[in-house]
Amino acid sequence: MIRSLRRVAPQLMTLVVLAALVSWFFPSFLQIDMSDGRLVGPVIDILKRGAPVAILAVGMTLVVATGGIDLSVGTVMAITGAVAASALVSGWGVPVALILAVGAGMIAGLWNGCLVAVLGIQPIVATLILMTAGRGIAQLITEGRILTYSDTGFGFLGSGSILGIPVPALLWVLTGVLVALLMRRTALGLLVEAVGVNKRASALAGVNARGLIIVVYMASGLCAALAGIIATADIRGADANNAGLWLELDAILAVVIGGNSLLGGRFSIAASVLGAMIIQTIDTGILLAGFPSEYNLVIKAVLVLAILMIQSPHLASEWALIRMQIARRRAAREQEV
């Protein structure tokens, strides 16, 4: 417990600093009210809006832990959203829509996993294929239109709330907790990390590296399906062109801000979802702080750069060196005196 807290300490501290920063520009940032039996406030809004990236980050963390990367998750969101929406429009009901969407996500993951693990294509290239082709598939499903539906039961997944908390927020917390438990209460976490650090040695020790790699891409596809369902439920329609657009990059960024190495190995799902919340806090915070909208992306970039610089192991050793030099110079000066 203490060990996992120490692992996520940098991310928690970053969140605290960001919250303080935003509060300085927008004093009621941390204020939470009750209205219509729902909690409302900027923080609740962040928890809700950050859901797709947080859920994507859960799957992405596993893929990254094996030394891979999944660029297709944004597109898979569009595909699964389109599948769910067209199932609803066809009147097949919510359970069928959910099953089809989740199935589509896992098939997408299976495709990626096979390209990487069986054919040995580099992950960035293998998933790029679906990243580009997938929007076409989604457009074929929606027949090029924005597919809208009017099922309030499905919409609940995007805009409903339980005990006042938005459903998407509950979903990402639940996904994160379940996947983290699955990884740490079984041996999956260890085996994934072993494959990520040294695939050859792991395979030689009898680890089914190929199977594990396929599984993590399928998990990523599954997470993308969940995110796609939330996005579709939220806007009550499927937009093949814009659903999940560029979110794969936010998901990767969340994993990186979470302190997970893109080279694979040790991973922390908690840190990744905190990374997703950091990104969402920046996004929402910039809007609340009232900067002209054209500044948003630049400010975001600067903040992200600052966060990553603080985490950089290179810089850490540089700083240690600089500090030592200053100390030495001071000592030399004192000797002269």
Binding site: R185, A187, L191, A194, N198, A203
Partner: protein
């Protein structure tokens, strides 16, 4: 002397890669640098070419003390290197490669006509008739090799280091390359030739130097040595004293029940089909030079490479050795030669490395309880005397010998019936070396069979009940009982083709 190296020493954490090595090279000679993997050849070359900084010792070129800090500085000093995998840019033309970094310019732009002329001039005397305007990649590796040599000679021009230049060439190409090398020797260059092919060493070189375990063993006129003596120098007899204490006293093999039968296991281009019967509690040794097929044989037995022919059986019927997983299920274990890339999972802890194979076999859904993991780790740290402050330390932080013990512990935790150890004592200090040999002895008392692959003949003599000699990708002979001595093994390794030394294995 063109180049003299005196008491060169280079230490890496845990090992002394070079220990007071002397080496000299005169102008107009081809000097072979020989030794098994880990002998220190590449460290010596890297110190010479500026890739490593030496810890101690002196290097003089033309009487001047040199300390190159980068390969480009070494090149300017006159030391050029050509590696097995050609270090040129395949997507540029031959002319661009030859003049790279020193392109003839006119008005600040590259003068491509002058570039081609310069390239043609550089290639003169190499017997190549090629179009320097074509991409380097359109030519064979042999020609690329010669182009690399031409470039190295033109840039550096005093010392030329050829590191395994013939590894991927066929016989005709080797002859072509050798003509070029002889020609350069006659022009007064000093050439260092690194190769595992002893025939080529005898054919091409004037003198040779043998390194072993980071130490200089001998420097001799090539013509003054025969094959047997050379192999003797390369493989050494460090454990002579141990050997004299007598054989470890295993019971004769006939008394022990056979456990595993491998028949006709082979793969084209890797190893010719071979038979092997493994008895309970037996230690089998694979002897042979690097590249002879000894490691490849073991890889087929463990499913690391798939055998094209042959089958494996135990008393109860056929067993699958198609993948490491199936071999492990059949009770096999394999501690690989290259510990860093194939053995350890560096970032993970000692505990996690020890339980990895066991956990993989149990499957992901049945995690080994943490208490059990801790018990296993503590148990093996104690039993194998793994020197560490904590089982949670990353294995990458341990010394080579301790890493090897952790890899051994990983397999012992599985309680295998057949354990393959590829170079189990490479790169580890003498103390750990003896401990691991003792451990092997203990294990076989409980009925486990062990297969050891080693370059150190004396180690094989001490540990193994019988030795299978592998040469030129074939199992050529088998030595048992009193026939197992360093000398007989060496003779079997050195025997010419078509003249089987002892009884042939199959």
């Amino acid at each position: 002397m063109l180049l003299t190296i005196q008491s060169l020493t280079k230490t890496f954490p845990g090992t002394k890669a070079l220990d007071g090595v002397n080496f000299d090279l005169s102008a107009g000679e081809v000097h072979a640098l020989l030794g098994e993997n880990g002998a220190g050849k590449s460290t010596l070359i890297k110190c010479l070419t500026g890739a490593y900084r030496r810890d101690e010792g002196e290097m003089h070129l033309d009487g001047r003390l040199i300390s190159p800090t980068s390969t480009s500085e070494a090149q300017e000093l006159g030391i050029g290197t050509v590696y097995q995998e050609v270090n040129l840019l395949p997507n540029l033309t031959v002319a661009q490669n030859l003049t790279f970094g020193r392109e003839p310019r006119r008005f600040g732009l590259i003068n491509s006509r002058a570039q081609k002329l310069a390239a043609l001039e550089m290639l003169q005397g190499y017997g190549l008739d090629i179009d320097v305007g074509r991409d380097l990649s359109s030519y064979s590796v042999a020609i690329q090799q010669i182009i690399a040599i031409a470039r190295a000679v033109a840039v550096s021009g005093k010392v030329l280091i050829l590191d395994e230049p013939t590894a991927s060439l066929d016989a005709a190409e080797v002859r072509m390359l050798f003509d070029v090398v002889r020609n350069l020797r006659d022009r007064g260059l000093g050439i260092v030739f690194v190769s595992h092919f002893l025939d080529q060493v005898f054919e091409l070189t004037d003198r040779l130097t043998v390194l072993r375990n980071g130490q200089h063993v001998v420097t001799e006129q090539t013509a003054g040595l025969d094959r047997l003596q050379l192999i003797h120098h390369m493989l050494g007899r460090d454990l002579e004293a141990v050997e004299e204490q007598g054989h470890t006293g295993h019971a004769p093999i006939v008394e022990r029940p056979a456990m595993l039968h491998f028949t006709g296991i082979g793969r084209a281009g890797v190893i010719e089909p071979f038979d092997l019967t493994v008895h309970e509690g037996e230690v089998i040794g694979f002897a042979g030079l690097l590249g002879s097929g000894r490691t490849e044989s073991a890889e087929l037995l463990f499913g690391l490479r798939r055998a094209q022919t042959g089958e494996a059986r135990d008393q109860s019927g056929p067993i699958s050795i198609e993948t490491p997983q199936s071999a492990i299920a059949a009770g096999f274990g394999f501690a690989p030669e290259d510990r860093k890339t194939d053995g350890i999972v560096a970032e993970l802890s000692i505990r996690e490395n020890i339980i990895l194979a066991l956990q993989a076999q149990r499957g992901w859904a049945r995690p080994l309880p943490r208490a059990e993991q801790d018990r296993l780790a503590a148990d093996y740290i104690k039993r194998l005397d793994i020197r560490t402050s904590d089982a949670e330390k990353a294995i990458g932080d341990l010394s080579g010998g301790n890493q090897q013990k952790v890899v051994l512990a990983r397999w012992l935790a599985m309680n295998p019936r057949f354990l393959i150890l590829d170079e189990p004592t490479r790169g580890i200090d003498v103390g750990a070396h003896a401990e691991i040999l003792k451990l092997i002895d203990r294990l076989t008392e409980d009925g486990m069979a062990v297969l050891i692959i080693s370059s150190e003949l004396d180690e094989l003599v001490v540990a193994a009940d019988r030795i299978i000699v592998v040469r030129d990708r074939r199992h050529v002979s088998e030595l048992t009982g009193s026939a197992v001595t360093s000398d007989t093994i060496m003779q079997a390794i050195a025997a010419e083709d078509h003249a089987p030394a002892q009884e042939v294995a199959r």
